[in-house]
Each structure stands twice: as structure tokens, then as C-alpha cells.
């Protein structure tokens, strides 16, 4: 998926959304509104529903070498508590002694409860094998917090350290283009091509941006998890490849999630 393809996707979209509008000037003014309308139309049938259903099944199914379900998985609010867990992640977990996001926490549960090898899943490409299952699980779990407000903890010292590290990563310019996350996501009301860019340093941008993933992407017909969203951001930043569930991506999750405090969880959203 390249920028150019993204852009072509956006253009195709714009054409659909703008059908019936006569003048170029008019098109310019209303393109964002039209995209919002198109998105609203799509909400009626968000294919993320299918991934949600798959995720719920996977949570309850006995699977893996230990033939166990994930129903005793502790996502931070106690074993088996799913509702409201996602709007408090990433958080510190005493049993692993580290801050984890939803996806890295799912790997812990899949290893401990079901006997899968977390390392192997982390190395599996997105969308394949158990990785696809992690995405479906994350989709269902996030949907269970839909409409709730983000409220990440900053009470554990490691949570505060990860926020500070995440902030440093967010502003870290690098690669051949000298891009940082902040290059595109630290100002209000900016666009890349026609795509609106959320300001992830504060509300409401942080809640709107961070709170939308996992999301179904119409342009490529894929369900994208939060880890994949960050992975592709780094690709477009021309950085090397961030490891799945790496400390860097989790720290960024803490930074954005804390900045989004009070924002509403909209995941699983639908994106162009």
C-alpha cells in the first residue's frame, strides 16, 4: 500500500462522493463533508461486524495446545472482564511486570492459557494465521467498549515512564525524510492530500484518532489493528520495521491514549 495508491483510493472515493456536484469550486468546499456522508452511509454495514463475531467466537472457543478458551484472560480489570478493558489500555500488568497494549496482552493470554507461542505469533505477518485471530479478538474486545470514554491509568511509575518515552518517540525525526509522527499529527486542521490529519497530541484529535483503531479499511478491504496502523505509519515515515508489540509501539499507544483521556471509543471504525 503506497501513498500513491492511498491517494488514488481517495480520489476514487471523492468521485463517488461528489457525484452530482457540478462545479470544481463546489467540489473543493464540500469534499470533506461528502466523505463524512459517505462514511456515515458505510456505517450501516461496517464489515468490522464480521471480525467482531469471529473475535467473540475465538474468545470462547477452546483452542491451542492446552485446548482452553480465553475466558479467564485478564485484560486489566480482572479475569474474563472484557467490557471497559480496552479504554484503559495500554496499562501496567503486575504478572508480566510491564506495560502492555491490547494486542501484546492477548499474546500473553494466548501463551499462558492456550499454550500458543507468543514469540511465534509476534513474528507472523499481519493478517495470517494466529495474527489474523489476534486482530479479530482485538476487534471484538474494542467493540465491547464502544461509546465508553478513554481513561488510561498513569498511576504506576512504568505507565508514566512509557508516556514520556512515547512522547519522545512521537517527536523523533528520523529516516531519509526526517519525518516524525509529529510532522503530520501535531497540529489542528491539517490534511495530507484530502485526508484530514488528527492532532494526536491533545483532545479531541487523540481520542478520535487513537480511539478508532482497530478499523475496517474500505480501500484495501482489510481489518487493521492498532499495531498495524502504527506499523504502516512507520512505513510511510520511511522508518525501519517496528516489531509487533514492541516497547516503542506500546509507548506510543500510552502517549496517544493518555492524550485522548475523556475521548469516546469509536472502534471498530470504518476508514477509507
Amino acid at each position: 500500500m503506497t501513498h500513491r495508491q492511498d491517494v488514488h483510493g481517495a480520489k476514487r472515493w471523492l468521485l463517488i462522493a461528489l457525484m452530482g456536484l457540478a462545479s470544481v469550486a463546489q467540489a473543493q468546499k464540500s469534499s470533506t463533508d461528502s466523505i463524512a456522508e459517505y462514511r456515515a452511509m458505510l456505517q450501516d454495514g461496517n464489515p468490522a461486524d464480521l471480525f467482531e463475531a469471529k473475535g467473540e467466537d475465538l474468545w470462547k472457543q477452546k483452542r491451542g495446545p492446552k485446548n482452553a478458551s480465553l475466558e479467564q484472560c485478564d485484560l486489566g480489570k480482572g479475569p474474563g472482564v472484557v467490557k471497559g478493558a480496552w479504554v484503559e489500555l495500554p496499562r501496567y500488568f503486575a504478572d508480566t511486570g510491564r506495560v502492555q497494549d491490547l494486542e501484546s496482552r492477548l499474546l500473553t493470554c494466548m501463551e499462558q492459557l492456550q499454550g500458543f507461542k507468543a514469540d511465534e505469533i509476534a513474528k507472523t505477518p499481519f493478517g495470517r494465521g494466529e495474527q489474523a485471530n489476534v486482530t479479530a479478538l482485538a476487534t471484538w474486545i474494542s467493540a465491547e467498549s464502544k461509546g465508553m470514554k478513554f481513561n488510561l491509568s498513569q498511576s504506576h511509575p512504568q505507565e508514566r515512564v512509557m508516556y514520556e518515552v512515547g512522547k519522545r518517540l512521537f517527536f523523533m525525526r528520523g529516516g531519509p525524510h526526517d519525518f516524525a509522527c509529529a510532522t503530520c499529527h501535531a497540529q489542528d486542521d491539517k490534511r495530507i492530500r484530502l485526508q484530514d490529519l488528527p492532532n494526536l497530541t491533545q483532545q479531541p484529535g487523540a481520542g478520535n484518532g487513537f480511539g478508532a483503531w482497530p478499523a475496517y479499511r474500505v480501500s484495501n478491504g482489510q481489518m487493521w489493528s492498532a499495531q498495524l496502523r502504527l506499523n504502516d505509519c512507520y512505513r510511510q515515515q520511511r522508518f525501519p520495521y517496528p516489531l509487533f508489540g514492541s516497547e516503542a509501539t506500546i509507548a506510543l499507544g500510552v502517549y496517544m491514549g493518555v492524550n485522548g483521556k475523556g475521548g469516546e471509543a469509536t472502534a471498530p471504525a470504518i476508514k477509507r
Binding site: 503506497t2 519522545r168 528520523g174 526526517d178 484530502l194 512505513r235
Partner: protein, 217 residues
């Protein structure tokens, strides 16, 4: 509630507060930790090697300024601009402008240098991602200023004239290495970082400065 209960309650609140505000590591320690985490969190993929994570001094200073909201001080900014200015070379054949039609293609093209791009492809300029340029292209970004009528607004009627020389040279320098003029500019340093070739930069120059380019209509 009795007075002693109140005292107890406030003592507990202070304790809780102290526990919550356990001092963070120093800023320098957090910088070091971040570097360690970066080193552990990425791997090479395609042409995107981990060497890309080595921050140069300019980026380190500008990242810190962005994060803290305190701009780099004037002296430091001058030093950054001076060393970036020193990287800029004039066109090897003395000609600044190429073909605006090729320039438009480069401005449209956002590909190149990602881990999914072949290392030997010609990179795009990404220009429309951030700038309005021609009037016809509606799909433009707003991170950078509009460049529509760039040459016309600046009174460039003949790019080869003595009158146009300062703006032609400035534009050349800006595309080659934007941080020669603005220490912490967000614009990629197209020549300095090997994103665009000299020939490609000439084409983009023509898009902006050639009076026959649609940009200047």
C-alpha cells in the same frame, strides 16, 4: 467527623499523592531509555535499514524543540542553517530549470524509500501531500504553504534573467535542503538526503518557476 479523622484523611491523601508522584527519571535518562527502546523495537526491512534510526544532530535538536515547545535558540538555529547551507551545490551544468511536465509527475508521486519500495526506483517528491501547487489538482495537503502561482507571485517572467536570480537560487536551495533557511523546517532535505536527483529537482523547479507551467497561469 472529628478533627482527628480529618487529620488522618489528609495524611493518607499526602501519602497517596507522594506515591503517585514518585519522581520520573531525569529527562536525560528518559532520552537514553528511549534510544534503548528504539534499538530494541525495530528491525531492517527491505531498503529501510536500522541505520535510519541514528538521529543526526539537527534532528535531535529539532525533535527536542518540537517536544518541549521551546524553539532552538537563535545561535543554535544559525549553526543548523549554516551547516545545512554548506551542503547545497548549484546545478552541475549551471541550468536550474528542467521540464515542468516531468516536475508535475514528481510532485504527484509520493512513493520511494519505504520498506515496500524497491531501492532502485526513482523516488517521488511527495509535494502534493503537503502543498497546493497547480490549480487543477484538488487533492493537495495543507501542511505546507500553497505554491500555486509560485513564480508569478514573485514576479518571475524570465527565470534566466538577472532579476529572477535571487528567487531561482533560493528555490533551488530550499528544495535541495530546506533547513538551510529554516533550522527546523518539516520539509524533507531532498538533495542532502538523496531523495531526489539533481535532474528531478530541476523538473520541480520548472513546475514552480517556468512561466509556461500551469502553476503560473
Amino acid at each position: 467527623m472529628t478533627r482527628s479523622y480529618l487529620h488522618l484523611a489528609s495524611a493518607a491523601a499526602v501519602l497517596a499523592l507522594t506515591a503517585c508522584s514518585a519522581p520520573l527519571p531525569s529527562s536525560a535518562d528518559l532520552d537514553k531509555l528511549t534510544q534503548d527502546i528504539v534499538a530494541r523495537s525495530f528491525r531492517a526491512q527491505g531498503q529501510a535499514g536500522v541505520d535510519r534510526l541514528q538521529p543526526d544532530e539537527d534532528n535531535r535538536l529539532c525533535s527536542e524543540a518540537d517536544r518541549t515547545g521551546a524553539p532552538v535558540d537563535a545561535k543554535l538555529a544559525q549553526a543548523i542553517e549554516a551547516r545545512n547551507m554548506a551542503t547545497i551545490k548549484g546545478p552541475s551544468d549551471g541550468k536550474y530549470l528542467g521540464d515542468w511536465k516531468e516536475g508535475e509527475k514528481i510532485a504527484q508521486d509520493g512513493r520511494g524509500k519505504t520498506w515496500t519500495d524497491p531501492a532502485n526506483m526513482a523516488n517521488g517528491g511527495n509535494c502534493y501531500n503537503c502543498h497546493q501547487i497547480s490549480r487543477e489538482e484538488l487533492s493537495y495537503g495543507t501542511l505546507g504553504p500553497s505554491l500555486y502561482q509560485y513564480g508569478k507571485i514573485r514576479g518571475v517572467t524570465d527565470p534566466n534573467s538577472a532579476a529572477a536570480k535571487p528567487i531561482v537560487e533560493y528555490t533551488w536551495g530550499k528544495i535541495n535542503n530546506a533547513r538551510a533557511y529554516n533550522a527546523c523546517s518539516s520539509m524533507p532535505r531532498f538533495a542532502h538526503k538523496g531523495i531526489l536527483t539533481e535532474a528531478q529537482i530541476k523538473h520541480v523547479m520548472a513546475l514552480l518557476l517556468d512561466p509556461t507551467s500551469p502553476v503560473n497561469k
